[in-house]
């Protein structure tokens, strides 16, 4: 199993690497296109601001490479959002793998949403063994609208897509690497897809 975590300068990728290490898998951090293309599984992480992250992707030309990947790819948090069509954060165009837009929570709720919320209407093998309404750790100010690619739903202000899937691309808004035992199960499931 060759697992790579795309390292393009955005976010807390150490935590993801450590989470896989706890599962007994050594994940490689890289921005090398060859390494990414040859991996069995790819993690596309991201924490921070969307337009800056997109700029970093473009600088390394990973914006061209990522949508063409054929192996299972898991976008986490901002990584998931960047796989979408467009985000209101910095009015940024994404990679367009998921045909959905990213919007900001309104000020009717506290922003960012910070903490543990439930995922339900689970629709993918990514969630095998995960019970409906399991808690996941989330930290975000922007969310994906419900769409046909939705494979998990969370409620905060509105019902939104907390996980997406299109072909070999998966995206989760929550942080499985920080979501205790249930999160570890999702990472383990991803490795078997």
């Amino acid at each position: 199993m060759k697992l790579v975590i795309i390292d393009y300068g955005a976010g807390n990728i150490k935590s993801i690497q450590f989470a896989f290490k706890r599962l007994g898998i050594d994940a490689m951090l890289t921005n090398n296109p060859e390494e990414i293309l040859n991996a069995d599984k790819v993690i596309f992480p991201g924490v921070g601001e969307a337009s800056n992250a997109m700029m970093m992707l473009k600088e390394s030309q990973l914006d061209k490479l990522i949508p063409k990947l054929k192996q299972p790819v898991l976008g986490i948090c901002l990584g998931m959002q960047l796989l979408c069509k467009h985000t209101e954060e910095g009015d940024t165009s994404g990679l367009g793998v998921f045909n959905v837009n990213i919007k900001r929570f309104s000020n009717k709720v506290k922003v960012p949403q910070m903490g543990w919320n439930t995922i339900r209407d689970l629709k993918s093998d990514l969630f095998s063994g995960i019970k409906n309404n399991e808690y996941m750790y989330l930290v975000h100010s922007y969310y994906a609208e419900q769409c046909k690619e939705t494979i998990a739903t969370t409620n905060y202000e509105t019902n939104y897509a907390s996980a997406l899937q299109h072909e070999n691309f998966y995206g989760v808004q929550f942080h499985p690497e920080k979501s205790s035992i249930a999160g570890e199960k999702i990472l383990k499931n991803f490795l078997t897809l």
Binding site: N12, K14, V47, G115, Y137, H175, K178, S179, S180
Partner: protein, 251 residues
């Protein structure tokens, strides 16, 4: 629904936990990594490590500790204490801290909040505020509560939100250490006037105090130290009671 969070706080000096921790079944109660793992297993939602190391050499020990916590613990954690620059934050986040907390350095130079928020995103910037009610006014204190400032709690809280804090950790110095409950009036006022999460700190003594700080104080999270460290309030029992009181928690 978004759950209310329970956050044990550990004081760290030279990479070791200090100020009494008395955990059953733990051979080395001073080891922050082992403690963190125990708390994660017990159902803590998050952890805060407060670094009280005085020297730079000891700070690198702290970084090493942060790395080990990130390696072995599967819930989020915040590191605070002595952070005053982008470089400090960068180092902590690179070691795997999820959030950092600043206090005195933000009072001395409020622009620091903007700089950190712009650079790392507001989701990882917690501003801790220690305040004491003196003659009816909530006065912000710095340097671990030893120095009163000219700042008023509610004005300062508003300012840190506007400057890009993602969360506020409010400690009432009047309540801290009393075990008589949290400062729920002030907390409720903070929660109503701000649009970022508020962590209640100072005064936890009983399970009922947690119920009240969520129900009356409208806190998003509650932080405590000794009641957890000495096993006075087991986290699993606390969360069951919160749920019995219709407060959403992760069980």
């Amino acid at each position: 629904m978004l759950a209310k969070r329970i956050i044990p706080c550990l004081d760290i000096k030279n990479g070791r936990t200090v100020k009494g921790v008395n955990f059953v079944n733990l051979i080395d109660a001073g080891n922050p990594v082992e403690l963190a793992k125990q708390y994660a297993l017990a159902g803590a939602d998050e952890l805060v490590f407060l670094d009280i190391s005085a020297t730079l050499e000891n700070r690198s020990t702290t970084l090493n500790m942060v790395l080990h916590v990130a390696e072995q613990v599967n819930i989020p954690f915040t590191v605070g204490g002595g952070i005053s620059s982008i470089a400090d934050v960068d180092a902590l986040l690179k070691c795997g801290a999820d959030k950092i907390s600043i206090n005195s350095s933000a009072i001395q130079r409020p622009e620091l909040i903007n700089e950190l928020s712009n650079k790392f995103g507001n989701q990882c910037i917690v501003v801790a505020i220690d305040a004491k009610q003196i003659e009816g006014k909530w006065i912000v204190h710095m340097a671990g509560g030893t120095i009163p400032t000219k700042l008023k709690l509610f004005d300062w809280a508003k300012e840190v939100e506007q400057r890009g804090a993602g969360e506020i950790l409010f400690t009432s110095m009047n309540n801290d250490g009393t075990k008589n409950g949290f400062a729920n009036d002030a907390l409720a006022k903070l929660s109503a006037s701000l649009n970022i999460p508020i962590i209640a700190s100072g005064g936890a003594g009983t399970i009922q105090h947690f119920v009240e700080t969520f129900a009356l104080g409208k806190a998003d999270a509650a932080l405590a130290a000794s009641v957890f460290h000495f096993g006075e309030i087991p986290i699993s029992e606390l969360k069951k009671e919160l749920r019995n009181n219709n407060i959403e928690v992760r069980l």
